[in-house]
Amino acid sequence: MLNVSVWEEKGFYMRVFPFFFLYLQQKSSENIIYHTMKRFILVCFSAFVLTAEAQNPIIRNQFTADPTARVFNGKVYLYPSHDIYPPEGQRQDWFCMEDYHVFSSENLTDWTDHGMIVTQNKVPWVRPTSYSMWAPDCVYRNGKYYFYFPSAPAEGGGFAVGVAVADNPEGPFVPEPQPIKGIFGIDPCVLLASDGNAYIFWGNGRCAKLKENMKELADDNPRETVKFGNREMEMVGVHCLKDLPNRQAEGPFAFEYNGNYYLTYPYVRQNTEVLAYAMSKNPMGPYEYKGLIMAEQPNGCWTNHHSIVNYKGQWYLFYHHNYFSPRDDKRRSACIEKLYFNADGTIQEVKQTMRGVGINKATEKIEIDRYSNASAGVTTGLIDTVNTFRSYQATLPTKGSWFKYDDIDFSMIADGYLVISAKASDNTEFCIREKNEKGKILARIKMNVKPEEPAGGAANAPMGRFRRDMRGQWLTQTASLEYVPKGIADLVITNEGNGALSVDWVQFKNRQLYFTPVDKKAAAATPDERGFIRRWRLMQPQKQEIRSNVIFTDSWLRETFANELAKLSKLKAIWYAMESPTYNMKLFHFAEKYGSQAYGNLFWCETVINCPEEMTDVRLAAGSNGASMWWLNGEEVLLLEGDRRMVVDDGVSKRLTLKKGRNTLRGAVINGPGLSDMCVRFVDEQGKPIKGYTIE
């Protein structure tokens, strides 16, 4: 653990690294109060499943500071520092980092955590309880991956820079036993220049050439004697920022583009760090100061630290912000923005956004509250200020307020619905629209969150128990899509009711395919592998007033089915020829789409069994949810009474004969508040399925 008082005792280092010392003092003198979270919360969240990330910050289950991004094998690899809450015994208001993780992504939206690659107590030269595993870098050269990282050495003070080597970008990395000789400082960055050499930058902008082995400084590096008070010190390499704006400069990141070398770095312009850059025609300078890449953090977060990478033709700036640690800027999270060059090679200043980069697939869980743009009055905030990894929400305070989220890819959505996590302060409604606040409506959702008196007063009081006050509670809402955008779309959420609305995330899904309409000219079907009849003519569901299935007694069913059967020929109901992709016919979903209500229906179904020969001693086997009755060639053969669930071969008929040629099989399934369903087949005397017929 770094401790300023120790540094003060060691005046030597103070003199050797004046800028670094200033920097430490500045950081430690900040009087930011924060409360340490319970360690178990950290543990609880450390294994959270990341399925999709896109918005800023990009990693939302752990802190990720000083993000160095590199492109290896067509993927972006991210090597950040790993801020943690200091364990007991460590200084609680200081940086604390004990190891490194590596992440990768192919689209900048889905990030995979490959786990820990280097940790402080497995590096021979590192003081194992120093918690000083600061900003790293990783480069690929001569078939190996070289991971550079600063830390506090076990012997002596200050910081040294070590190397760990791997065959793959995810590791395993094997640390060298000793740090690189001649480097005293933090924040290594390695530039593989087009002149064939590798250069390492560190600290406040010092640069030296590396040997071919990437583990030592080259012998032909310039050396300079630097005077610190009465003492003189020989330093390797050159100080590239010597005559440039460099107050408390650190975190150098150098790269080459279009014949120019760029040295980019954070420094303190006024009170906190900005990201600035300088350009040169030579890796080791001299560099000419060009200006800012990113201004001070809007919320006063003292540090910023970055990397710049070109991926699939687009330049990106990776930087950090203390989004998940608002009271304590020592725990930071990586963010990404696009970066653009001017024609003269200078860099356009980058603005921080919540939206970040990347195109979200509509089927991802999208943190839509990290909006691109919003109407006045829209606010964002942490959902849970203690458990900050619960992430952010956006609040639309009044009717007419809206926010917009860019770039969602709908190409994979056909028959879709949306799921959205939202809360409301009172009954309200909102729309999801395309393009702008007046755009085409994808879905409209009503949130009735205020408890109502149950209809019917006291007599229905027990039902009232199931209605709770949902105001201010996060609720998962679903709605079918009235309209599906084509390709990539920008979405707008508009509050169109009177309650304040907060939104967390949104996800689009395709409805499962339950039925395929059968073409009139389709060839005859056969029973499936297990003998189930999947092709039926289904009549438009007949609405029934059934509050509970307890009424399904034998005599009630017989009477009801007889009455309904008598009416059947006079009904002008529509029949649908349908094929089910599963062995069972999910009538509930048929009713959702073709009926007037999902629950409380009578379903009539018919099919024609065409037998090449007469079949004797066969049984009709059926299962249904709920009760059902079955007729073969007009004769009642099976009744399943009561409040049934659909079980394969729940009941079978007596032994029947299927005549040669056409046999008509008819069924009626009736259900109140259940998931209507049926499965039907013919079986032989041993219960084995019969399949030697066709279905017309």
Binding site: C44, A47, F48, V419, R468, Q477, T478, K509, Q512, Y583
Partner: protein, 482 residues
Amino acid sequence: MKRYFFFLLSSLFIGRAAAQVGAPYIHDPSTIAECEGKYYTFGTGGGGIISEDGWSWHSGAERPGGGAAPDVMKIGDRYLFIYGATGGGLGGGHNGRILTMWNRSLDPKSPDFKFTTAIEVAASDGLEDCDAIDPCLLLDPTTGRLWASFGTYFGNIRLIELDPMTGERVRGNQEKDIAIDCEATDLIYRDGWYYLLGTHGTCCDGVNSTYNIVVGRSRSVEGPYVDNVGRDMLNGGGRMVIAAGDRVCGPGHFGRTIIDEGVEIMSCHYEADFDQGGRSVLGLRPLLWKNGWPVAGERFHGGTFAILSERRGYSLEMAVDFVRIQHERQGWWRTNPDEPVKPVADQQLTDVIGTWPQGDIKVRCSDYMMRPHQQWTITPVPEAGGFLGGPYCKIVIRGTDRALAATADLELTAVPAFTGAPEQLWRIEQLTDGCYRLLPKGIPGREGINTRYVLYSAADSTPTLAEWDFSTDNAKWNLKGL
């Protein structure tokens, strides 16, 4: 069939003795959990019930979050809670959330009692064929991996994997459908098989609820779970474990508790206990295993029994003089077929009681001969409390107050009169193989409640007390109802 002998004193009690006593009102009880010597189970809607002895229950357990059908499991020194919260379902929909949270204690009065923030591990969106409520936990003893199943009749029962360290969903884990047609499921592992227990039938209709518990099993935790006739639970299969009977109906929400090797109980709720006004109450039943299938044992009401050793089949009896039944002998060689048949009367207590000594009488085992000194009336003793799943009983010679008792030297005696002393109270538990074990509540001269020493066959004829050992028939007894 058993016949029940209701003594005047206990006739009022016996009607209630079968169910858990106190206020065991609960729906969807979680698997029984133990914390600092007390038992806890948590139900739908929040809260739960507590028992000091496992027999008498009272309200007072606390669980925030409401929702349906929780489960609780001790992992390390913490308790992991899992429960389903209806995510809104503003119109009575099916979007649910499965959440987990930890607590270091189950006792609301403990300074350690503090829930962590609940974490969502699964959800249903309301339109898919799943209703993410009614979860349960299984910590696989063979792999250390933690699994949860959840769901209701609305669609599929789903399986997910959790991280036993954090209670979070395992990274990248995909939900797997493992059953339909049931709800309030539970997963257990035993002897190379994984069992999925689901609740079938109709709930929440009081004495007309048809709720019942069915089971399928699999060699893999991920299924397929298949029933005894080869039907996958994804096709509605399931073998009955417990249904209505014995004045309770609608058992649901299975939980398994292992008390000792070979001693298991299942917990559930009955939708209605006819003796408790048709309320939904906690049910605890012996859990038996027959050919690799779980079967609920019967509730033990007491009665009059021959107590037969599993070792030899000999009967537990008082060591008194054998009194011959006097009758005219009719040897087969001189039977006159024309003579009318005269039944031989049973030997009566009054025929022999005068021959018995006054003080303590030793206890031994011998051939069962239907004699009074071999017939034991077992009766729950309400004021003596109970253990997990049952009340303590007294065991007296039928028609007398002469009671079976443990002695300080770990032997047995029959004392002249039942006094209620701990050594005269017996914990009777049905074993997984259908036999019984009998433990005295106390042993004279020893502190505390006895949980080690059971009635044991030292020899064919010599009963004693010895440590419980499921692997030997010496420790097992059969109760043959008279």
